[in-house]
Homo-oligomer: 271 residues x 2
């Protein structure tokens, strides 16, 4: 999926919602446990009910790997099931020396047919660029994450006051283009989104941390939007676990609509 | 496996060799392609021939994930096949927000029975500590990697001249102990190993980059060893792809013996 297609989807659906598909056996409704592939059954129901209100889906690979081969199968099924009209993000946070990153890129883009992979920047340019050689595929590089530990190293600063996450943005922004790179910028640090925008005005941001983690959608839209919208806001638990009963998918739909409505308002302001 | 068991193995085998199990279809001998599980057949032969000269094995998960579910099965089989006398390292370079890192820890320690997982530090303390709550299991945190891109961010320095990799060592060394944490320090930056040792005298170092990537074993031993040996030196391509013919495992054995002999000499000096 290229940038034009993504922006078109956002304008049509009036939504920049990304739904995090993070199933775990202790949280999905009990009646799904007897399914042959409970994770896929759960994801399929969520996708079916939210597809009109979301433009991206983001399975975090940890939830699948925790079940070993079986989990990996659920991940494959889920990515296969998602229609090509949405951005399929493998939230894998990979990154390794060049020839090895290239294998991860193949794993996620060729084998699993994801459109985008989250990548960790610690190992530098040659660990990131192998993901950039695939047409209409995306690297989503971690810049400023939404967890408490993000302060440990991401805010480490040089003698001019430049922080590591800013150094990551500055150095990496020319490794690819706004057509094949996005950045993870957590909503829990709303005040930082404006700083990020000054360094990378054009790139899309994938913003986790709205809802359960405490970030505000209004703040994110205010500081993060650019003329091409430029933001994807992720919600995982707030949607998929809004109910743990048989009605989980319908309740997920309601939560997705709520977010879509709020997003739609912010998109009106953009015009 | 705990530290005492690891040091005992090293002294008995007179080796601190870690063998990187990184199979790929274009590099393993052609006659293995018709096996039901070519990666496992390859790994099994390598393990059988090198087990007397190595104390650790390190499959890099990228090589397995590139084949999807099939590859994940090969990884499971390989880790199951390795005897409990060696340290089983899943070179996964994972790291995510706390509850998600916990799932990765379960994936590698509980489901795959690895003894150690490599973890990327970018997301900070709460992305690392979930891996530390498992008895006799290890986090191997990336500090200074062996690739060219390591200079991009790992050498980013603050106003006092402290570099990011040093900040990672300083902050993280008390998250665990030398009994459950090691660090990746690349041999291609031999002069840096002494710097690392000044910050963390007691922790084990996992050192990639000897051989194919150009680092010197003598330098690593000189600067890296401590009274408990304190180093594991990894070789992947130099051993497993020393021959691409039917004799690949026997040639791998010869290469492993060469490294063991060189390691044995450095261990004599330690006494």
């Amino acid at each position: 999926m290229n940038k034009h297609q993504l922006v078109t989807q956002i304008r049509e659906k009036q939504s920049y919602l990304c739904v995090g598909l993070d199933p775990s056996m202790d949280k999905i409704p009990a009646h799904l446990h007897k399914e042959k592939d409970p994770f896929f059954a759960f994801n399929k129901a969520i996708i079916d009910e939210t597809i009109d209100y979301a433009v991206a889906y983001k399975p975090n690979t940890a939830f699948y790997e925790a079940l070993g081969t079986k989990g990996w199968e659920s991940l494959e099924r889920t990515l296969d099931y998602l229609p090509s009209s949405v951005l399929k993000i493998a939230d894998a946070k990979r990154g390794d020396i060049g020839n090895t990153s290239n294998l991860y890129a193949k794993a996620f883009f060729d084998t699993l047919h994801a459109d985008a992979v989250t990548v960790a920047p610690y190992m530098g340019k040659d660990s990131v660029t192998p993901f950039l050689g695939f047409e209409d595929k995306w690297v989503i590089l971690l810049a400023l994450t939404s967890n408490i530990g993000s302060a440990d190293f991401q805010l480490f600063q040089d003698s001019t006051g430049r922080q590591l996450f800013e150094e990551v943005l500055l150095k990496s922004k020319d490794w690819g283009t706004p057509e094949n790179m996005m950045y993870v910028v957590g909503a829990t640090r709303g005040e930082k989104i404006a700083e990020v925008r000054r360094i990378i005005p054009e790139h899309f941001l994938l913003v986790p941390g709205v809802g359960a983690q405490g970030g505000s959608l209004q703040d994110v839209a205010l500081h993060g939007m650019n003329p091409d919208v430029g933001i994807l806001v992720n919600s995982s638990r707030g949607i998929i676990y809004a109910s743990s009963d048989r009605d989980f998918a319908q309740v997920a739909k309601k939560e997705a609509i709520k977010l879509r409505d709020e997003m739609s308002e912010t998109l009106q302001k953009l015009k």
